[in-house]
């Protein structure tokens, strides 16, 4: 578990993190979402004990990272943004080094190395120097080095930057597997779609502050974002309008003989009611397209500006 309370980090006049608070639970993927420079890496730095907070409190598995740094670090696994690997060494040698640094000893170390090499699909290239690896393979090995000791808390700082789609999918699967195994995962990214598909709960940060937090549905709801439901089929426009009107917070955007477009909050839960009302009104629904508002659009609406790369 990670508990962050009123975390603040200043560099002279610059406040990189400004009163950030959140809790990430075991088995959960908690996302820190925000543009570059929002304070995500600084937050991770404070949680991992790399940076000393100016004020506030951070606990990892109940251990204060400042007062009980060593105990907190023993529970942590960190996958940094940079590929922190020794390129002259092989995958196995890197894993031995980083696993050894985490206190693993043989035979457990050997077993874990085999396991993570299998998980990351690097088993057949395990003895090759890392400098011969592709970018995606290095990213996977970077991840493997962070989980080789089976940490209770895993911090992932933009682990998919510059990764090809195939390797990205693989990495995201690995992250899900870690969470399913009971690890508390803190995942920072500026890729909105990644956060949407991966994270159980999210905190959107900008300029060092949490500007919104919750599940994806809560965030959407909190921000009053509306889904767009496009129904194709056979409709009587006036009857269709009248049929859906009683449903809460619904707005008919477009009503034609073969197309009905509705704007509403939490559309997926209201689909049965909509279908029932339309059927009762003599309409025939042949196709459905539900477009949910993306986090990117939420971020833009929330901050009034576009996502900065």
């Amino acid at each position: 578990m990670i508990e962050v309370e009123q975390l603040r980090k200043e560099y002279g006049d610059l406040t990189a993190v400004d009163g950030v608070s959140f809790t990430a639970r075991p088995g959960e993927i908690f996302g820190l979402l925000g543009p570059n420079g929002a304070g995500k890496t600084t937050t991770i730095g404070c949680i991992s004990g790399l940076l000393a907070p100016t004020s506030g409190r951070v606990r990892v598995m109940g251990h204060d990272v400042v007062r009980e740094g060593m105990a907190a670090r023993q529970a942590l696994g960190v996958v940094p943004q940079e590929i922190a690997l020794y390129e002259e060494l092989s995958a196995v040698e890197n894993l031995k080094y980083w696993g050894g640094a985490q206190g693993l000893r043989n035979p457990l170390l050997g077993e874990r190395i085999q396991k993570v090499l299998e998980l990351t699909g690097l088993g057949d290239r395990a003895r090759e120097p890392v400098k011969r690896f592709s970018g995606g393979m290095k990213r996977r090995l970077n991840f493997a080095c962070g989980i080789v000791h089976q940490p209770q808390v895993l911090l992932l700082d933009e682990p998919t930057v510059g990764v090809d789609p195939q390797s990205r999918m693989r990495l995201l699967e690995l992250v899900r597997a870690e969470a399913q195994a009971g690890t508390c995962v803190l995942y920072t990214t500026h890729y909105m779609e990644e956060a949407e598909t991966l994270c159980d709960r999210l905190a959107i940060v900008d300029h060092g502050k949490v500007i919104a937090a919750g599940t994806l549905a809560e965030l959407r709801s909190m921000l009053e974002q509306r889904d767009l439901l496009r129904l194709s089929g056979v409709f009587q426009p006036a009857a269709a309008r009248a049929a859906v009107a009683p449903i809460d917070h619904i707005e008919v955007v477009q009503a034609e003989e073969n197309l009905l477009v509705l704007s509403l909050v939490d559309a997926s839960r209201k689909l049965p009611a909509i279908f029932a009302a339309l059927e009762a009104a003599g309409s025939e629904v042949r196709g459905t397209t539900l477009t949910q508002p993306s986090l990117e659009s939420l971020f833009i609406k929330l901050t009034g500006k576009e996502l900065r790369e």
């Binding site: 730095g45 991992s48 004990g49 790399l50 940076l51 060593m70 670090r73 023993q74 942590l76 960190v78 940094p80 943004q81 940079e82 590929i83 922190a84 690997l85 020794y86 390129e87 002259e88 060494l89 040698e93 031995k96 080094y97 980083w98 050894g100 640094a101 985490q102 206190g103 000893r105 120097p129 080095c145």
Partner: protein, 368 residues
Amino acid sequence: MRFLWICVVKDLRRWRRDPFTLAIWLAIPLVLAVLMNVVFGGGGNPAPQGVLLIADEDNTFASKVVAGVFHRDPLDKMLALERVQRGEGRRRIDRGEASAFLIIPAGFAQAVNRGAAFRLQLFTNPSQSILPKLIEDTVSITLDMFGTRRAVGPAIGLETTVIPEKKRGKSFAALFFPSMLCMAVWMIANALAGEIWKERALGALRRLAVMPVRMAAFLAGKLVSVALVFACVAGTGLVAVRWLGRVPVASLPAAILWLVLAGVAFYLLLLLVSMSASTPRGASMLGNLVMFPLALVGGCFFPFEIMPAWMASVGRLTPPGWAVTQFSAILDGSTHTPGLAAALGGLVATSAVAFLVTLVRLRRSFLI
């Protein structure tokens, strides 16, 4: 302790995977040994040109006539004449830095004019056979000329002293080798110190900082790794020079130990310098800025024996200068056990202080 060894294994593996650099490190002393063997014929033969030191305390026309003989062809091609004070000349001939040292005491001209008895002093270097004899004969013949003019009265003579054998001069190979090997260690230390920036750029240091390990163990691991590299370099160089260059090595273990400890101290010093910079390029420039002048003044490029006296005095106070001086003494066996122990203790103490300062720097600012 376990993590220390993990770090040692990691560094040694990394260097083994870079065989070109490793070969260069080992080649430096080997190349020096081969060059010395080729240039100086393996026997450490004396140089073809000698040095005559003259302390002309009379400074008269007569004394200049004596000294002026050596400016004439062919002697001027065989001997380099240096005017020195009596004390400096004595020190240098004792160290074997010249073929001979001639003292013309005050009153020489008066004695010549009066026909009084007078003795010039000549100290000769026993390690050279031809040039000291040539000098002695030349001075004697010149003095005979003065004596011939004065038909009567006591002769003007020359008192020749051969300095004790234990203070005999070194061959050029023996003179240059300590400097060259210390230069090799100094350069390797600079190259190894710069590696910390590679680890920093990789993010490996930051990753390590969030793990349950002590940075002191990491730094100590680095010292053990570089000590092993220096042991290989020193061992290779010393054995090669002993066999190929026939340079005397009084105590091989002591010489290796000294070079290893000096190398570790150099490494720590240059590591601290490297970490004081703000960029890798700045670190490289700063390292070279520190390394080359200190190597030059500190007797790593040229032995102190052929430096101007003032530069040698300053150079001996620098870290490489101190290391070269002690190393030379270990090689020629002129250092005694208590002196060697004190020097080693000083080196270890200096390294310990440098270790602590480097560790603080590493933890507080360099990691992030």
